[in-house]
Amino acid sequence: MRSGDSMNRRLRISGILVIIGLLVEALCLVWSKPIAFVVLVCLGGALIGVGVLLFLYSLVSASAHPANASGVAQDKR
């Protein structure tokens, strides 16, 4: 159960990072100033990158923990 919770927590954090990154990207796309590109890459890109990596890590860590299988099963119930 605890493992399932931690995976959910990672998914949430990953989702929040991706959302913030995407919102930064959307702002940069409508903000027609030269610095917009740098903000898009450095801030938006970093947030999205970290979010995606955290999502991938949550997948890997979930499959590495056999206990998670029971966590998922409990979730199913």
Binding site: L11, S14, G15, L22, E25, L29, P34, V41, V72
Partner: protein, 209 residues
Amino acid sequence: MPTIAIVILVLFSAVLAGVMVVRPAITVSRAGKILAFGVLFFLPLFSLVAGMENEMQRSESTAFCLSCHIMEPYGKSLHIDDPAYLAGAHYQNHRVPADEACYTCHTDYAMFGTFKAKLGGLRHLYIYYLGKPPLPENIKLYNPFNNRECLHCHLGARSFEQGATHNADPSTLPAIKANTLSCVSSGCHDVVHNVGHWGDKVKFWDVGS
């Protein structure tokens, strides 16, 4: 892809990611796992690449270069109503694409020319925000203007190959082609932007007239 389409895609991706944040438990099912992969991996990366590509395209536009106020006089020089002004004559007569005028002349037509131009742009950005930007009239090219950039379009053109001035001396044309005699050297096409040296007599072309 137009900017508005990318913005819609980005916002759509953000909304779907929001669903994952609110209900992470949907990843329990097989369909939920596939959705999570799409929403938290594929869509964000695709949106990021599309957004970067869009910004790269926009960085080639004349409007983008002129959005730094230090470049305003250079933008104004494109509207000088005098054919002796090389930049203005090229811009007004569409010898260069009007919406990519700066990029067309100031990018090396060589391997990695675009890449170098982008790096140069980042350097400009650094100087603009964190350094001490020079006055517009004191801006100089990093390297002397290479004839290769002019010859990219003019080489083989009748006006260039058979021009009276270019052929007055038999050594002139080969020297231009070998880049040993600059197109913008004194006495030739030396009036380019001439920012800071316009005087009072210079007139501007009214686009609407």
